[in-house]
Amino acid sequence: MIYLNNAATTLQKPGAVIEAVNNCLTEGCANAGRSAYKSALSAARTVFETREAVAAMFGAPDPLRVIYTSGATEALNLAIKGTPQKGDHVIATSMEHNSVLRPLTEAEKDGVETTIVECSKEGLTKAPDIEKAIKQNTKLVICTHASNVTGAIMPIAEIGELCRKRDLLFLVDASQSAGFLDININEMNIDMLAVPGHKSLMGIQGIGMLILSDRANPTELMQGGTGSEASSIIQPETLPDKYESGTLNLPGIVSINAAIKFIDGVGLNKIRAHKRSLTIAFLDSVTDVNGINIHSPISPELTTAIVAMTLNKISSSEFAAILDEKYNICVRAGLHCAPLAHKTIGTYETAVVRFSFGYFNTEEDVKKAIQAVCEISQR
C-alpha cells in the first residue's frame, strides 16, 4: 500500500512514538494530577514536560498556556466559541475548514457577526484583504496557516502583525502546518494556535493543543474535575486547569512528547525538505500531462506537501477508487470538509483528488503514484 493521505492523518508513526505509547499502556497509564503516588506523579511530570516541549516548538513563552484538547477541531471550537460575544465581529478566510466554518455559523446564531474574506483562485489570501474587512466591532481574525485542500500557505506573520497593530485577537489553524512549517506564536503575533497531534506532528489520534498568548483568555467549553480546588464547585480560573476538565489523554500526550523528540532529532528543516522534494518530483511529472489539472500552487514555497488534482475524463471519486483498487494508493477525493475553499478554487462541482505526502513516503512511492496518475488520465 502507498499511503498518500497524510493531510488527513499520518498513518506511519515514528517507532519511538509507538514504543512510548506502548510503554505508557503496558507499564502504567496513571491519572495525572489526581494523586501523589509514584506513577501518578510520573504521569504529571510527563504531561508538564510535554507542555514545555510543545511551548518550545511553537515559541510559546508559557507552558501553562498550552491547553490539551482532543484535536485541532476541539481547539478551534474552544477558541471560536469562547472568544467573540454577541455583537462582536469575526473575520475568516474562504479557505477555512468546516472546523472553523461550522462553529462560526453556530456563533452567528448567538449574535456574532462574521465576514468571510475571499481568497485567490489558488487559495491564497493577502493581509490587505483582511484589513479591508476590519470593522469597529471586529474582535477576532481566523486564518488557516495552510489550506487542507490545495496546501496554499497563508502569510500568517503579515496578518499577525496587522492584527496586533489593530488590537485584534488572531487565531491560526495549524492543522496542515504544525510539524511542517516553522511556527513561532510570539514572532508571528498569534494569540491562539490550534494544533492537531496526529498529522505532521506524527503523534496518535485524539490529542491536540490550543496554545494561548497572554492576550487570549477564551471562556472554557466544559466544566468538571481538574484535580485542583476540589472544595469549590466553581471552575478554577488557573491555567491550564480552567480548560482541562476530566482525565487527560495520557497515551496521546506521551505520543506528542515522543513525536516532538523525533522531529527535533531529525530536524524540521530536513523533514520539510524531504516532503517538498517528493511534492516537487510529483508535480514536475504530472503538471504538463494532457488531461490533468493541478489546483495547488505550483511554486513549492507557496504550498505544503499537498497536490490537489482533477482529471478531464474521470470524476474525482472514480479516480480515487481506481487508485485504491488497481494501484493500492490511498488518497482522498471529495470536498475535504472545506466547501468554501472548493468554491474559491472552482472545484465545488467536480471535487478534487488530494495527494498529500508524508515523512515516511519514498521516491519510489512517488514514482508509482506518477505512473498510476498518468495511466488513469489517459484512459
Binding site: 501523589a36 506523579l41 514545555e52 501553562l64 484535580g227 480546588e229 476540589a230 472544595s231 488557573t238
Partner: protein, 70 residues
C-alpha cells in the same frame, strides 16, 4: 515547573495536599528541611499563587499543628 525549580534548591517530596491546608485533592511540595528564610525566598520567585505552611509530623490532641507562615 515549580517542582523542577524546587528540586534544584531543596530536598523535597511531592505529597497529596494535607487536609489541614485544604481538602482539595491537589499536590503539595513538602520541604524536608527547615531553612524557612530560604523557602520564603523561593516562594517569592514563583509566578503562581503559593502559600508556605508549617505542619507538624505528629498529631497533638487529634490534630497536627498547622501554621501559615506566608
Amino acid at each position: 515547573m515549580t517542582e523542577k525549580k524546587a528540586r534544584e534548591l531543596f530536598d523535597i517530596t511531592v505529597i497529596p495536599t494535607p487536609e489541614e491546608i485544604t481538602n482539595d485533592c491537589g499536590l503539595t511540595l513538602k520541604f524536608n528541611e527547615t531553612d524557612i528564610a530560604k523557602i520564603i525566598e523561593f516562594q517569592k520567585t514563583l509566578s503562581i499563587p503559593a502559600d508556605v505552611y508549617f505542619i507538624s509530623n505528629k498529631k497533638e490532641n487529634g490534630k497536627r499543628k498547622t501554621e501559615k507562615i506566608r
